[in-house]
Symmetry: C2
Subunit: 241 residues, 2 copies
């Protein structure tokens, strides 16, 4: 319930026409919700590659978020890929179809009809005041690629992903990584339940290494951080967070 | 020779402590070099997941770039993962080891010795005036995670990746995607060698859709763009690039 994976569908990201903002946005939101993100995969707008990435994402995380490939043009293939990944047909959502008829008349062009396509069995989440629904296929949440729309769509469903919080601490050090590695190793061995990371700096930052401590048990996270600090030589710690 | 994949190794990216700058930087550089990027995968600092991502990256692109997981601490596992992916041992590079001895004396702490570790058979690229080498294991280029160091390292080896240029064009339109989809479909069918992308805007940009054309044959890219423009109703094109 508390893990996730992201599949970014986007030739425009791979060809550097656009810098992906959706992966970083979702990473931050998931972190704040207590969901551990296990993988981000950016793949081209090609059905076999999306299907393959979806399979991996579904086995890596409880929740899967896709970004992009939704719309009426030839390069919008996410719905077809999700249908294929689940072994179901693509069908038209009656409510979306009737809204399109209301707006564009009795005869819809094929491109407009595509906007109503969903994988059969998909949950179609409508929210008051929004023009388009959010699609949720079992644990796969289908989000649009345009960043403002993705944020809007995610915000409408975000509370269903909330999990137990992840607690975090950090120690900023005046020593290089090679001089703290042995103390880190000892702390890692003592607290296997705590995620410990070491991030060196080589610029003119006020510290040379930031060491982070993460876990769902706040007390154990604090104790791991304390145990590490206690092992360090005097003057090593610049500050803690 | 002209495709690539990236593996970003980074708990700090997945936990949103850091926004990845290395994927976007490499995507831009590769594009400028004429290399088609086929995949970016961001995985945790865990050997089995890195080995798995490396296998996929090596079959997706001719060149593979890894970012992160290089250094003396417990969470730096990239060298071990690459060695495992290639089925070789981790050994010490003699030149790096002798430089470390020169700087830190006869007896090196284990953490310092780790800085000389390479997968057996790896190319160790030294450049005048730099403190650390770039490692290249067959077609896998091992880059550090700290963005300034990654840029420096990539720049030292970048010319070996240069391929035939990719040409690009763009058309900015006043119509929504649903009104141009049929003209796009016809153009896509006529020019299968050209990569055509459609990017809608829903903000107050001066256009509603940007359509892009990409390929290695400049003449065919131009013809595809022209064929698309010719199909559009009058007034649809705001500008071309």
């Amino acid at each position: 319930m508390s893990t996730a994976a992201i599949v970014v569908i986007g030739n425009e990201v791979l060809s550097a026409k656009v810098t992906d903002a959706n992966g970083p946005f979702l990473a931050q939101e998931l972190r704040a919700l207590g969901v551990e993100l296990r993988r981000i995969e950016t793949v081209p707008d090609e059905i076999p590659l999306i299907v393959d990435a979806l399979a991996r994402a579904r086995s890596s995380g409880h929740w899967v978020f896709t970004s992009g490939g939704i719309g009426p043009t030839h390069d919008d293939v996410t719905i077809a890929a999700i249908a294929q990944a689940f072994g179901v047909e693509v069908v038209h959502d009656p409510k979306t179809l009737s809204m399109l008829h209301e707006r564009f008349g009795h005869t819809l062009k094929p491109a407009l009809r595509r906007l109503a396509e969903i994988p059969r069995g998909c949950e179609v989440v409508w929210s008051e005041g929004f023009m388009f629904p959010v699609l949720v296929m079992e644990r796969v949440v289908v989000l649009p690629g345009v960043p403002s729309l993705l944020r809007e769509a995610f915000t409408r469903v975000r509370e269903r992903f909330r999990a137990a919080p992840i607690f975090s601490g950090a120690v900023f050090l005046s020593l290089p990584e090679s001089r703290i590695a042995e103390f880190l190793d000892a702390t890692v061995a003592e607290f296997p339940q705590v995620g410990i990371g070491s991030y060196p700096r080589f610029d003119d930052a006020d510290h040379r290494v930031k060491v982070t401590f993460d876990g769902r048990d706040q007390d154990i996270v604090r104790r791991a951080q304390q145990a590490f600090v206690t092992r360090l030589p005097p003057g090593a710690v610049l500050r803690e967070e």
